[in-house]
Symmetry: C2
Subunit: 324 residues, 2 copies
Protein backbone atom coordinates (compact mmCIF):
# COMPACT_ATOMS: atom_id res chain seq x y z
CA UNK A 1 0.00 0.00 0.00
CA UNK A 2 1.25 3.49 -0.86
CA UNK A 3 2.48 5.60 2.06
CA UNK A 4 0.81 8.94 2.87
CA UNK A 5 3.06 12.05 2.79
CA UNK A 6 2.30 14.66 5.48
CA UNK A 7 3.37 18.23 4.60
CA UNK A 8 2.91 21.75 6.01
CA UNK A 9 -0.31 23.12 4.51
CA UNK A 10 -2.29 24.85 3.25
CA UNK A 11 -2.64 23.03 -0.08
CA UNK A 12 -0.51 24.76 -2.69
CA UNK A 13 2.39 25.71 -0.40
CA UNK A 14 5.97 25.18 -1.60
CA UNK A 15 6.12 22.23 0.82
CA UNK A 16 3.09 20.77 -0.99
CA UNK A 17 5.01 21.11 -4.25
CA UNK A 18 7.94 19.26 -2.64
CA UNK A 19 5.58 16.54 -1.36
CA UNK A 20 4.13 16.04 -4.86
CA UNK A 21 7.67 15.78 -6.24
CA UNK A 22 8.56 13.23 -3.53
CA UNK A 23 5.42 11.27 -4.36
CA UNK A 24 6.54 11.16 -8.01
CA UNK A 25 10.15 10.16 -7.27
CA UNK A 26 9.86 7.69 -4.40
CA UNK A 27 8.48 4.17 -4.83
CA UNK A 28 5.71 3.47 -2.29
CA UNK A 29 4.93 7.20 -1.77
CA UNK A 30 1.24 7.98 -2.15
CA UNK A 31 -1.26 10.68 -1.29
CA UNK A 32 -0.18 14.08 0.11
CA UNK A 33 -1.98 15.34 3.23
CA UNK A 34 -1.78 18.95 4.55
CA UNK A 35 -1.00 19.43 8.25
CA UNK A 36 -1.54 22.63 10.26
CA UNK A 37 2.01 22.75 11.69
CA UNK A 38 5.33 20.89 11.76
CA UNK A 39 4.59 19.24 15.12
CA UNK A 40 1.61 17.47 13.50
CA UNK A 41 3.93 16.13 10.77
CA UNK A 42 6.40 14.67 13.30
CA UNK A 43 3.47 13.26 15.32
CA UNK A 44 2.02 11.54 12.24
CA UNK A 45 5.40 9.94 11.41
CA UNK A 46 5.87 8.98 15.08
CA UNK A 47 2.44 7.25 15.10
CA UNK A 48 3.47 5.44 11.89
CA UNK A 49 0.65 7.07 9.93
CA UNK A 50 2.94 7.86 7.01
CA UNK A 51 6.02 9.86 6.04
CA UNK A 52 6.67 13.59 6.45
CA UNK A 53 8.04 16.34 4.20
CA UNK A 54 9.72 19.32 5.90
CA UNK A 55 11.63 22.34 4.62
CA UNK A 56 15.33 21.97 5.53
CA UNK A 57 17.49 24.64 3.93
CA UNK A 58 17.04 27.62 1.63
CA UNK A 59 19.92 29.06 -0.38
CA UNK A 60 19.07 32.64 0.72
CA UNK A 61 17.62 32.20 4.23
CA UNK A 62 19.84 29.29 5.37
CA UNK A 63 18.61 26.42 7.52
CA UNK A 64 14.96 26.26 8.58
CA UNK A 65 16.12 26.15 12.17
CA UNK A 66 12.86 25.22 13.95
CA UNK A 67 12.59 22.14 11.69
CA UNK A 68 16.24 21.27 12.33
CA UNK A 69 15.65 21.54 16.11
CA UNK A 70 12.53 19.37 15.80
CA UNK A 71 14.40 16.65 13.88
CA UNK A 72 17.25 16.62 16.44
CA UNK A 73 14.70 16.17 19.20
CA UNK A 74 12.38 13.66 17.46
CA UNK A 75 12.27 10.04 18.57
CA UNK A 76 12.59 7.40 15.82
CA UNK A 77 12.32 9.82 12.85
CA UNK A 78 15.01 10.13 10.16
CA UNK A 79 15.32 11.67 6.69
CA UNK A 80 15.87 9.29 3.75
CA UNK A 81 15.38 11.58 0.71
CA UNK A 82 16.18 15.20 -0.14
CA UNK A 83 14.11 17.18 -2.66
CA UNK A 84 14.98 20.62 -4.10
CA UNK A 85 12.28 23.05 -5.27
CA UNK A 86 12.90 26.34 -7.13
CA UNK A 87 11.12 29.19 -5.35
CA UNK A 88 9.10 30.69 -8.16
CA UNK A 89 5.82 32.61 -8.12
CA UNK A 90 3.18 32.55 -10.86
CA UNK A 91 0.59 35.33 -11.22
CA UNK A 92 -2.80 33.56 -11.20
CA UNK A 93 -6.28 34.89 -12.07
CA UNK A 94 -9.84 33.58 -12.33
CA UNK A 95 -10.66 32.19 -15.80
CA UNK A 96 -13.28 34.91 -16.43
CA UNK A 97 -11.64 37.74 -14.55
CA UNK A 98 -12.64 41.40 -14.92
CA UNK A 99 -10.24 44.37 -14.91
CA UNK A 100 -7.46 43.49 -12.48
CA UNK A 101 -7.05 46.01 -9.64
CA UNK A 102 -5.52 44.17 -6.68
CA UNK A 103 -2.72 41.67 -6.05
CA UNK A 104 -2.84 39.24 -3.11
CA UNK A 105 -0.22 37.02 -1.42
CA UNK A 106 1.54 36.35 1.89
CA UNK A 107 3.73 39.39 2.71
CA UNK A 108 6.83 37.31 1.81
CA UNK A 109 5.36 36.61 -1.64
CA UNK A 110 4.51 40.28 -2.13
CA UNK A 111 8.05 41.27 -1.06
CA UNK A 112 9.58 38.87 -3.61
CA UNK A 113 7.61 40.20 -6.62
CA UNK A 114 7.90 44.00 -6.23
CA UNK A 115 8.89 44.60 -9.87
CA UNK A 116 5.84 42.80 -11.29
CA UNK A 117 3.51 44.62 -8.87
CA UNK A 118 4.97 48.05 -9.73
CA UNK A 119 4.78 47.40 -13.52
CA UNK A 120 1.08 46.52 -13.36
CA UNK A 121 0.15 49.31 -10.94
CA UNK A 122 -1.91 46.99 -8.71
CA UNK A 123 -3.12 47.65 -5.15
CA UNK A 124 -1.49 45.28 -2.67
CA UNK A 125 -3.44 43.11 -0.25
CA UNK A 126 -1.60 40.78 2.19
CA UNK A 127 -3.09 37.35 2.96
CA UNK A 128 -2.34 34.69 5.57
CA UNK A 129 -0.73 32.46 2.91
CA UNK A 130 -0.23 32.39 -0.86
CA UNK A 131 -2.71 29.53 -1.01
CA UNK A 132 -5.31 31.62 0.87
CA UNK A 133 -4.85 34.32 -1.80
CA UNK A 134 -5.80 31.70 -4.45
CA UNK A 135 -8.68 30.23 -2.46
CA UNK A 136 -10.30 33.62 -1.73
CA UNK A 137 -9.51 35.28 -5.08
CA UNK A 138 -12.17 37.64 -6.52
CA UNK A 139 -12.77 38.57 -10.19
CA UNK A 140 -10.52 41.65 -10.07
CA UNK A 141 -7.61 40.08 -8.19
CA UNK A 142 -4.24 38.54 -9.07
CA UNK A 143 -2.82 35.92 -6.67
CA UNK A 144 0.93 35.27 -6.39
CA UNK A 145 1.58 31.60 -5.61
CA UNK A 146 3.61 28.45 -6.47
CA UNK A 147 2.73 27.10 -9.94
CA UNK A 148 1.05 24.05 -8.41
CA UNK A 149 -1.80 26.37 -7.23
CA UNK A 150 -3.21 26.93 -10.74
CA UNK A 151 -4.42 23.32 -10.90
CA UNK A 152 -5.41 23.08 -7.25
CA UNK A 153 -7.58 26.21 -7.28
CA UNK A 154 -8.71 26.11 -10.96
CA UNK A 155 -6.99 29.37 -11.92
CA UNK A 156 -5.42 30.65 -15.14
CA UNK A 157 -1.77 31.66 -15.40
CA UNK A 158 -1.46 35.38 -16.18
CA UNK A 159 2.36 35.26 -16.06
CA UNK A 160 4.98 32.71 -14.97
CA UNK A 161 7.98 33.22 -12.64
CA UNK A 162 7.26 36.84 -11.76
CA UNK A 163 9.65 36.97 -8.75
CA UNK A 164 12.32 39.70 -8.67
CA UNK A 165 15.15 37.25 -7.91
CA UNK A 166 15.53 33.98 -9.83
CA UNK A 167 17.69 31.32 -8.28
CA UNK A 168 15.93 30.97 -4.93
CA UNK A 169 15.77 27.30 -3.97
CA UNK A 170 14.54 25.38 -0.93
CA UNK A 171 15.62 21.84 -0.06
CA UNK A 172 13.21 19.50 1.73
CA UNK A 173 13.74 16.25 3.65
CA UNK A 174 11.39 13.29 3.45
CA UNK A 175 11.07 11.73 6.93
CA UNK A 176 10.16 8.19 7.99
CA UNK A 177 10.38 5.93 11.04
CA UNK A 178 13.94 4.57 11.17
CA UNK A 179 13.13 1.00 10.11
CA UNK A 180 11.13 2.28 7.10
CA UNK A 181 13.99 4.59 6.12
CA UNK A 182 16.46 1.72 6.38
CA UNK A 183 14.30 -0.39 4.04
CA UNK A 184 14.09 2.45 1.52
CA UNK A 185 17.85 3.08 1.64
CA UNK A 186 18.48 -0.67 1.44
CA UNK A 187 16.47 -0.85 -1.79
CA UNK A 188 18.51 2.00 -3.28
CA UNK A 189 21.78 0.33 -2.22
CA UNK A 190 20.60 -2.95 -3.77
CA UNK A 191 19.71 -1.31 -7.12
CA UNK A 192 22.58 0.98 -7.67
CA UNK A 193 25.94 -0.48 -8.57
CA UNK A 194 27.03 2.94 -9.86
CA UNK A 195 30.34 3.04 -8.05
CA UNK A 196 33.46 0.95 -8.50
CA UNK A 197 32.99 -0.45 -5.00
CA UNK A 198 29.36 -1.31 -5.72
CA UNK A 199 28.00 1.38 -3.40
CA UNK A 200 25.79 4.20 -4.60
CA UNK A 201 26.99 7.53 -3.23
CA UNK A 202 25.09 8.92 -0.27
CA UNK A 203 25.12 12.03 1.91
CA UNK A 204 24.41 12.07 5.65
CA UNK A 205 23.39 14.68 8.20
CA UNK A 206 24.64 13.87 11.71
CA UNK A 207 24.10 15.71 15.03
CA UNK A 208 26.80 15.70 17.75
CA UNK A 209 26.62 16.91 21.35
CA UNK A 210 29.95 17.08 23.14
CA UNK A 211 29.40 15.93 26.72
CA UNK A 212 32.99 16.71 27.62
CA UNK A 213 33.20 20.49 27.43
CA UNK A 214 36.25 22.76 27.50
CA UNK A 215 38.51 24.51 24.96
CA UNK A 216 39.26 22.56 21.82
CA UNK A 217 36.49 19.96 22.09
CA UNK A 218 35.10 20.95 18.70
CA UNK A 219 38.56 20.81 17.11
CA UNK A 220 39.01 17.33 18.64
CA UNK A 221 35.75 16.18 17.05
CA UNK A 222 36.78 17.57 13.68
CA UNK A 223 40.18 15.89 13.98
CA UNK A 224 38.48 12.50 14.16
CA UNK A 225 36.41 13.32 11.07
CA UNK A 226 39.46 14.65 9.22
CA UNK A 227 41.53 11.54 9.88
CA UNK A 228 38.65 9.47 8.50
CA UNK A 229 38.99 11.43 5.23
CA UNK A 230 35.35 12.56 5.34
CA UNK A 231 34.26 15.47 3.15
CA UNK A 232 32.04 17.81 5.18
CA UNK A 233 29.86 20.15 3.10
CA UNK A 234 28.02 22.07 5.82
CA UNK A 235 28.50 22.65 9.53
CA UNK A 236 26.59 24.66 12.14
CA UNK A 237 26.32 24.91 15.91
CA UNK A 238 22.90 25.25 17.63
CA UNK A 239 22.02 25.84 21.29
CA UNK A 240 20.40 22.73 22.80
CA UNK A 241 16.68 23.46 23.12
CA UNK A 242 15.83 24.89 26.53
CA UNK A 243 19.49 24.96 27.65
CA UNK A 244 21.14 28.25 26.72
CA UNK A 245 24.91 27.97 26.59
CA UNK A 246 24.94 24.27 25.60
CA UNK A 247 25.45 23.36 21.96
CA UNK A 248 24.84 20.69 19.39
CA UNK A 249 26.80 20.53 16.10
CA UNK A 250 25.09 19.50 12.87
CA UNK A 251 27.27 18.39 9.96
CA UNK A 252 26.53 17.19 6.42
CA UNK A 253 28.93 14.62 4.93
CA UNK A 254 29.55 13.13 1.48
CA UNK A 255 29.33 9.60 2.89
CA UNK A 256 26.92 7.07 4.42
CA UNK A 257 27.30 6.06 8.09
CA UNK A 258 27.61 2.39 7.12
CA UNK A 259 30.76 3.05 5.10
CA UNK A 260 33.69 1.62 7.09
CA UNK A 261 35.70 4.84 7.60
CA UNK A 262 32.65 6.86 8.62
CA UNK A 263 31.49 4.11 10.96
CA UNK A 264 34.93 3.92 12.57
CA UNK A 265 34.95 7.72 13.07
CA UNK A 266 31.50 7.66 14.72
CA UNK A 267 32.64 4.80 16.99
CA UNK A 268 35.60 6.90 18.06
CA UNK A 269 33.37 9.89 18.88
CA UNK A 270 31.09 7.60 20.91
CA UNK A 271 34.06 6.07 22.75
CA UNK A 272 35.06 9.61 23.70
CA UNK A 273 31.73 9.93 25.55
CA UNK A 274 29.90 12.26 23.16
CA UNK A 275 26.29 11.99 21.90
CA UNK A 276 25.63 11.16 18.24
CA UNK A 277 22.45 10.86 16.14
CA UNK A 278 22.03 10.37 12.40
CA UNK A 279 19.37 12.85 11.20
CA UNK A 280 19.26 11.88 7.52
CA UNK A 281 20.89 9.68 4.85
CA UNK A 282 19.93 10.19 1.19
CA UNK A 283 21.34 9.66 -2.32
CA UNK A 284 24.04 12.19 -3.13
CA UNK A 285 23.01 15.26 -5.11
CA UNK A 286 24.97 16.71 -8.00
CA UNK A 287 26.76 19.77 -6.65
CA UNK A 288 29.32 22.12 -8.14
CA UNK A 289 32.61 22.21 -6.25
CA UNK A 290 34.71 24.93 -7.84
CA UNK A 291 37.99 26.06 -6.29
CA UNK A 292 37.77 29.43 -4.52
CA UNK A 293 39.49 32.13 -6.56
CA UNK A 294 40.36 35.61 -5.38
CA UNK A 295 37.70 37.20 -7.64
CA UNK A 296 34.97 35.30 -5.77
CA UNK A 297 35.87 36.90 -2.44
CA UNK A 298 33.55 39.39 -0.73
CA UNK A 299 34.51 43.06 -0.50
CA UNK A 300 37.06 43.96 2.15
CA UNK A 301 38.76 41.37 4.32
CA UNK A 302 42.43 40.41 4.05
CA UNK A 303 44.37 37.64 2.36
CA UNK A 304 47.91 36.89 1.26
CA UNK A 305 48.76 38.28 -2.16
CA UNK A 306 51.87 39.30 -4.11
CA UNK A 307 52.06 42.68 -2.39
CA UNK A 308 51.86 41.38 1.18
CA UNK A 309 55.04 42.04 3.15
CA UNK A 310 53.86 42.21 6.76
CA UNK A 311 50.33 42.33 8.17
CA UNK A 312 51.45 43.67 11.46
CA UNK A 313 51.94 47.27 10.40
CA UNK A 314 49.52 47.29 7.48
CA UNK A 315 46.72 49.85 8.02
CA UNK A 316 44.32 48.00 5.70
CA UNK A 317 44.74 44.72 7.60
CA UNK A 318 44.30 46.64 10.83
CA UNK A 319 41.09 48.21 9.45
CA UNK A 320 39.59 44.90 8.27
CA UNK A 321 40.47 42.89 11.39
CA UNK A 322 40.24 45.63 14.07
CA UNK A 323 43.23 43.98 15.68
CA UNK A 324 44.98 46.98 17.20
CA UNK B 1 26.70 65.74 17.05
CA UNK B 2 24.56 62.66 17.71
CA UNK B 3 24.74 59.91 15.08
CA UNK B 4 21.57 58.81 13.24
CA UNK B 5 20.59 55.12 13.58
CA UNK B 6 19.15 53.52 10.43
CA UNK B 7 16.86 50.52 11.04
CA UNK B 8 14.50 48.31 9.03
CA UNK B 9 11.08 50.00 9.10
CA UNK B 10 8.23 50.52 9.36
CA UNK B 11 8.23 52.48 12.63
CA UNK B 12 7.32 50.18 15.49
CA UNK B 13 9.11 47.06 14.19
CA UNK B 14 11.22 44.97 16.60
CA UNK B 15 14.28 46.43 14.86
CA UNK B 16 12.94 49.90 15.74
CA UNK B 17 12.72 48.77 19.37
CA UNK B 18 16.35 47.60 19.16
CA UNK B 19 17.39 50.94 17.59
CA UNK B 20 15.71 52.88 20.45
CA UNK B 21 17.53 50.66 22.96
CA UNK B 22 20.84 51.28 21.14
CA UNK B 23 20.13 55.01 21.15
CA UNK B 24 19.65 54.84 24.95
CA UNK B 25 22.76 52.73 25.63
CA UNK B 26 25.38 54.14 23.26
CA UNK B 27 26.98 57.55 23.72
CA UNK B 28 26.72 59.65 20.54
CA UNK B 29 23.71 57.66 19.21
CA UNK B 30 20.82 59.92 18.20
CA UNK B 31 17.67 59.84 16.13
CA UNK B 32 16.28 56.56 14.65
CA UNK B 33 15.36 56.57 10.95
CA UNK B 34 13.29 53.84 9.25
CA UNK B 35 14.65 52.37 5.99
CA UNK B 36 12.66 50.32 3.45
CA UNK B 37 15.16 47.43 3.30
CA UNK B 38 18.50 46.20 4.65
CA UNK B 39 20.41 47.33 1.53
CA UNK B 40 19.39 50.93 2.31
CA UNK B 41 20.82 50.52 5.85
CA UNK B 42 24.20 49.31 4.56
CA UNK B 43 24.20 52.07 1.93
CA UNK B 44 23.56 54.75 4.57
CA UNK B 45 26.44 53.47 6.72
CA UNK B 46 28.67 53.18 3.62
CA UNK B 47 27.91 56.84 2.71
CA UNK B 48 28.76 57.78 6.34
CA UNK B 49 25.24 59.08 6.94
CA UNK B 50 25.02 57.33 10.30
CA UNK B 51 25.03 53.90 11.92
CA UNK B 52 22.84 50.89 11.18
CA UNK B 53 20.87 48.41 13.29
CA UNK B 54 20.27 44.92 11.81
CA UNK B 55 18.74 41.73 13.19
CA UNK B 56 21.50 39.14 13.65
CA UNK B 57 20.28 36.01 15.45
CA UNK B 58 17.04 34.72 16.97
CA UNK B 59 17.03 31.97 19.58
CA UNK B 60 14.26 30.06 17.73
CA UNK B 61 14.92 30.87 14.06
CA UNK B 62 18.74 30.98 14.19
CA UNK B 63 20.85 33.46 12.21
CA UNK B 64 19.18 36.07 10.02
CA UNK B 65 21.14 34.72 7.09
CA UNK B 66 20.50 37.47 4.49
CA UNK B 67 21.83 40.06 6.99
CA UNK B 68 24.85 37.86 7.75
CA UNK B 69 25.58 37.53 4.00
CA UNK B 70 25.22 41.31 3.58
CA UNK B 71 27.68 42.03 6.42
CA UNK B 72 30.24 39.57 5.01
CA UNK B 73 30.00 41.32 1.65
CA UNK B 74 29.88 44.94 2.89
CA UNK B 75 32.85 47.23 2.38
CA UNK B 76 34.04 49.19 5.45
CA UNK B 77 31.10 48.25 7.74
CA UNK B 78 31.55 46.48 11.09
CA UNK B 79 29.42 45.78 14.19
CA UNK B 80 30.50 47.39 17.47
CA UNK B 81 27.50 46.72 19.76
CA UNK B 82 25.04 43.86 20.25
CA UNK B 83 21.50 44.47 21.59
CA UNK B 84 19.02 41.77 22.68
CA UNK B 85 15.23 42.32 22.48
CA UNK B 86 12.58 39.98 23.89
CA UNK B 87 10.04 39.11 21.19
CA UNK B 88 6.80 40.06 22.89
CA UNK B 89 3.46 41.19 21.45
CA UNK B 90 1.02 43.61 23.10
CA UNK B 91 -2.67 43.73 22.12
CA UNK B 92 -3.35 47.39 21.23
CA UNK B 93 -6.66 49.20 20.65
CA UNK B 94 -7.88 52.73 19.87
CA UNK B 95 -8.53 54.80 23.03
CA UNK B 96 -12.29 55.02 22.30
CA UNK B 97 -12.75 51.64 20.68
CA UNK B 98 -16.15 50.03 20.10
CA UNK B 99 -16.92 46.29 20.45
CA UNK B 100 -13.81 44.45 19.27
CA UNK B 101 -14.43 42.04 16.39
CA UNK B 102 -11.18 41.67 14.44
CA UNK B 103 -7.48 41.17 15.19
CA UNK B 104 -4.78 42.39 12.81
CA UNK B 105 -1.04 41.67 12.49
CA UNK B 106 1.61 40.31 10.10
CA UNK B 107 0.95 36.56 9.61
CA UNK B 108 3.99 35.81 11.83
CA UNK B 109 2.47 37.88 14.65
CA UNK B 110 -0.89 36.15 14.23
CA UNK B 111 0.83 32.73 14.28
CA UNK B 112 2.62 33.57 17.54
CA UNK B 113 -0.53 34.63 19.46
CA UNK B 114 -3.02 31.85 18.60
CA UNK B 115 -4.10 31.29 22.23
CA UNK B 116 -5.07 34.94 22.78
CA UNK B 117 -6.96 35.06 19.47
CA UNK B 118 -8.90 31.86 20.21
CA UNK B 119 -9.82 33.02 23.76
CA UNK B 120 -11.30 36.30 22.50
CA UNK B 121 -13.06 34.76 19.49
CA UNK B 122 -11.81 37.46 17.09
CA UNK B 123 -11.81 37.36 13.28
CA UNK B 124 -8.26 37.34 11.91
CA UNK B 125 -6.99 39.85 9.33
CA UNK B 126 -3.38 39.64 8.08
CA UNK B 127 -1.49 42.88 7.38
CA UNK B 128 1.79 43.67 5.63
CA UNK B 129 3.46 44.38 9.02
CA UNK B 130 2.53 44.66 12.69
CA UNK B 131 3.12 48.40 12.44
CA UNK B 132 0.71 48.63 9.50
CA UNK B 133 -1.92 46.93 11.70
CA UNK B 134 -1.46 49.76 14.25
CA UNK B 135 -1.39 52.55 11.66
CA UNK B 136 -4.58 51.39 9.89
CA UNK B 137 -6.48 50.24 13.01
CA UNK B 138 -10.26 50.85 13.07
CA UNK B 139 -12.54 51.25 16.12
CA UNK B 140 -13.45 47.55 16.29
CA UNK B 141 -9.93 46.14 15.78
CA UNK B 142 -7.13 44.83 17.97
CA UNK B 143 -3.54 45.14 16.65
CA UNK B 144 -0.76 42.76 17.77
CA UNK B 145 2.56 44.59 17.85
CA UNK B 146 5.77 45.31 19.81
CA UNK B 147 5.08 47.39 22.96
CA UNK B 148 6.83 50.40 21.44
CA UNK B 149 3.86 50.78 19.03
CA UNK B 150 1.42 52.01 21.73
CA UNK B 151 3.31 55.30 22.02
CA UNK B 152 4.14 55.62 18.34
CA UNK B 153 0.56 55.13 17.13
CA UNK B 154 -1.28 56.62 20.18
CA UNK B 155 -2.98 53.34 21.13
CA UNK B 156 -4.11 51.86 24.46
CA UNK B 157 -2.77 48.54 25.78
CA UNK B 158 -5.58 45.97 26.03
CA UNK B 159 -3.20 43.22 27.23
CA UNK B 160 0.58 42.82 27.49
CA UNK B 161 2.76 39.91 26.28
CA UNK B 162 -0.01 37.91 24.65
CA UNK B 163 2.32 35.61 22.64
CA UNK B 164 1.92 31.83 23.04
CA UNK B 165 5.63 31.24 23.69
CA UNK B 166 7.60 33.42 26.10
CA UNK B 167 11.36 33.35 25.82
CA UNK B 168 11.73 34.35 22.16
CA UNK B 169 14.64 36.74 21.80
CA UNK B 170 16.35 38.44 18.85
CA UNK B 171 19.87 39.87 18.96
CA UNK B 172 20.77 42.90 16.85
CA UNK B 173 24.11 44.36 15.75
CA UNK B 174 24.83 48.09 15.61
CA UNK B 175 26.96 48.80 12.51
CA UNK B 176 29.36 51.66 11.77
CA UNK B 177 32.19 52.52 9.37
CA UNK B 178 35.32 50.79 10.67
CA UNK B 179 37.10 53.91 11.94
CA UNK B 180 33.97 54.99 13.85
CA UNK B 181 33.64 51.52 15.37
CA UNK B 182 37.29 51.57 16.41
CA UNK B 183 36.76 54.92 18.19
CA UNK B 184 33.70 53.57 20.02
CA UNK B 185 35.49 50.37 21.07
CA UNK B 186 38.55 52.42 22.07
CA UNK B 187 36.40 54.53 24.41
CA UNK B 188 35.01 51.37 26.04
CA UNK B 189 38.53 49.92 26.41
CA UNK B 190 39.70 53.19 27.97
CA UNK B 191 36.85 53.27 30.54
CA UNK B 192 36.71 49.74 31.66
CA UNK B 193 39.47 48.37 33.87
CA UNK B 194 37.19 45.50 34.85
CA UNK B 195 39.68 42.74 34.26
CA UNK B 196 42.90 41.89 36.07
CA UNK B 197 44.85 42.65 32.90
CA UNK B 198 43.08 45.99 32.46
CA UNK B 199 41.06 44.83 29.44
CA UNK B 200 37.29 44.75 29.35
CA UNK B 201 36.01 41.46 27.97
CA UNK B 202 34.85 41.48 24.36
CA UNK B 203 33.32 39.06 21.86
CA UNK B 204 34.14 38.99 18.14
CA UNK B 205 32.50 37.61 15.02
CA UNK B 206 35.03 36.69 12.30
CA UNK B 207 34.48 35.36 8.76
CA UNK B 208 37.00 32.98 7.15
CA UNK B 209 37.25 31.75 3.55
CA UNK B 210 39.69 28.91 2.97
CA UNK B 211 41.42 29.54 -0.36
CA UNK B 212 43.29 26.25 -0.14
CA UNK B 213 40.58 23.61 -0.47
CA UNK B 214 40.75 19.88 0.15
CA UNK B 215 39.93 17.44 2.96
CA UNK B 216 40.72 18.65 6.47
CA UNK B 217 41.09 22.37 5.68
CA UNK B 218 38.39 23.25 8.22
CA UNK B 219 40.00 21.06 10.89
CA UNK B 220 43.33 22.80 10.15
CA UNK B 221 41.70 26.19 10.73
CA UNK B 222 40.16 25.03 13.99
CA UNK B 223 43.51 23.61 15.10
CA UNK B 224 45.04 27.07 14.90
CA UNK B 225 42.18 28.53 16.96
CA UNK B 226 42.38 25.68 19.48
CA UNK B 227 46.10 26.13 20.06
CA UNK B 228 45.43 29.84 20.70
CA UNK B 229 43.10 28.77 23.54
CA UNK B 230 40.15 30.67 22.04
CA UNK B 231 36.63 29.88 23.25
CA UNK B 232 34.29 29.65 20.24
CA UNK B 233 30.58 30.03 21.07
CA UNK B 234 29.01 29.69 17.61
CA UNK B 235 30.14 28.38 14.25
CA UNK B 236 28.43 28.05 10.86
CA UNK B 237 29.35 27.49 7.23
CA UNK B 238 27.68 29.51 4.45
CA UNK B 239 27.97 29.22 0.66
CA UNK B 240 29.79 32.23 -0.81
CA UNK B 241 27.15 34.43 -2.46
CA UNK B 242 26.75 33.57 -6.11
CA UNK B 243 29.24 30.67 -5.95
CA UNK B 244 27.50 27.42 -5.05
CA UNK B 245 29.89 24.87 -3.62
CA UNK B 246 32.29 27.44 -2.12
CA UNK B 247 32.04 28.24 1.58
CA UNK B 248 32.76 30.84 4.18
CA UNK B 249 32.91 30.03 7.91
CA UNK B 250 31.57 32.45 10.50
CA UNK B 251 32.68 32.03 14.11
CA UNK B 252 31.91 33.92 17.33
CA UNK B 253 34.72 34.09 19.93
CA UNK B 254 34.99 35.16 23.58
CA UNK B 255 37.92 37.43 22.76
CA UNK B 256 38.88 40.63 20.92
CA UNK B 257 41.07 40.46 17.80
CA UNK B 258 43.62 42.83 19.38
CA UNK B 259 44.33 40.40 22.22
CA UNK B 260 47.78 38.87 21.56
CA UNK B 261 46.76 35.20 21.28
CA UNK B 262 43.83 35.93 18.97
CA UNK B 263 45.96 38.25 16.85
CA UNK B 264 48.67 35.58 16.53
CA UNK B 265 46.09 32.99 15.48
CA UNK B 266 44.64 35.30 12.81
CA UNK B 267 48.18 36.01 11.53
CA UNK B 268 48.76 32.30 11.20
CA UNK B 269 45.53 31.83 9.21
CA UNK B 270 46.53 34.70 6.92
CA UNK B 271 50.03 33.26 6.45
CA UNK B 272 48.35 30.03 5.35
CA UNK B 273 46.79 31.99 2.47
CA UNK B 274 43.20 32.15 3.70
CA UNK B 275 40.83 35.16 3.71
CA UNK B 276 39.81 36.76 7.00
CA UNK B 277 37.44 39.61 7.93
CA UNK B 278 36.28 40.83 11.35
CA UNK B 279 32.50 41.31 11.16
CA UNK B 280 31.88 42.61 14.70
CA UNK B 281 33.55 43.28 18.07
CA UNK B 282 31.37 44.22 21.07
CA UNK B 283 31.41 44.06 24.89
CA UNK B 284 30.88 40.54 26.17
CA UNK B 285 27.35 39.57 27.17
CA UNK B 286 26.47 37.63 30.29
CA UNK B 287 25.74 34.10 29.17
CA UNK B 288 25.03 30.88 31.04
CA UNK B 289 27.56 28.14 30.38
CA UNK B 290 26.29 25.02 32.13
CA UNK B 291 27.93 21.65 31.63
CA UNK B 292 25.93 19.30 29.39
CA UNK B 293 24.27 16.57 31.43
CA UNK B 294 22.64 13.45 30.09
CA UNK B 295 19.14 14.71 31.03
CA UNK B 296 19.56 17.67 28.68
CA UNK B 297 20.03 15.44 25.64
CA UNK B 298 17.40 15.22 22.90
CA UNK B 299 15.35 12.05 22.46
CA UNK B 300 17.09 9.17 20.71
CA UNK B 301 20.73 9.32 19.68
CA UNK B 302 23.50 7.30 21.31
CA UNK B 303 26.12 7.99 23.95
CA UNK B 304 28.39 6.07 26.28
CA UNK B 305 26.75 5.07 29.55
CA UNK B 306 27.20 2.42 32.25
CA UNK B 307 25.41 -0.22 30.20
CA UNK B 308 27.44 0.20 27.00
CA UNK B 309 29.49 -2.87 26.16
CA UNK B 310 29.88 -2.69 22.38
CA UNK B 311 28.17 -0.42 19.86
CA UNK B 312 28.97 -2.62 16.97
CA UNK B 313 26.27 -5.19 17.55
CA UNK B 314 23.84 -2.98 19.46
CA UNK B 315 20.47 -2.74 17.64
CA UNK B 316 19.64 0.62 19.26
CA UNK B 317 22.92 2.19 18.12
CA UNK B 318 22.32 0.73 14.69
CA UNK B 319 18.84 2.25 14.65
CA UNK B 320 19.96 5.73 15.75
CA UNK B 321 23.00 5.92 13.46
CA UNK B 322 21.76 3.85 10.48
CA UNK B 323 25.27 2.51 10.26
CA UNK B 324 24.63 -0.98 8.95
Amino acid sequence: MATTLHYLGPKGSFTHQAALEASRLIDDAGECVAEPNVTAIFDAVGRREGWGVIAWENNVEGYVVPNLDALIDADDVVGFARIGIDISFDALVKPNHTKLTTICAHPHGLAQCTGFIADRDLAVRPTASNAAACRDITDDQVALAPSVCADIYGLDVLARSVQDFSGGRTEFLVLAPRDDARRQLGAIRAQGAVQANGERDFESIVAFILLNTGPGVLANLLDVLRYAGLNMTSFISRPIKGNDGTYSFIATFDAAPWQPQFKAALSQVLAHGDWVKTLAVYPRRERPSPPVSAWMLPQGGVHLDDTTTSWNDDPETDRELLWK
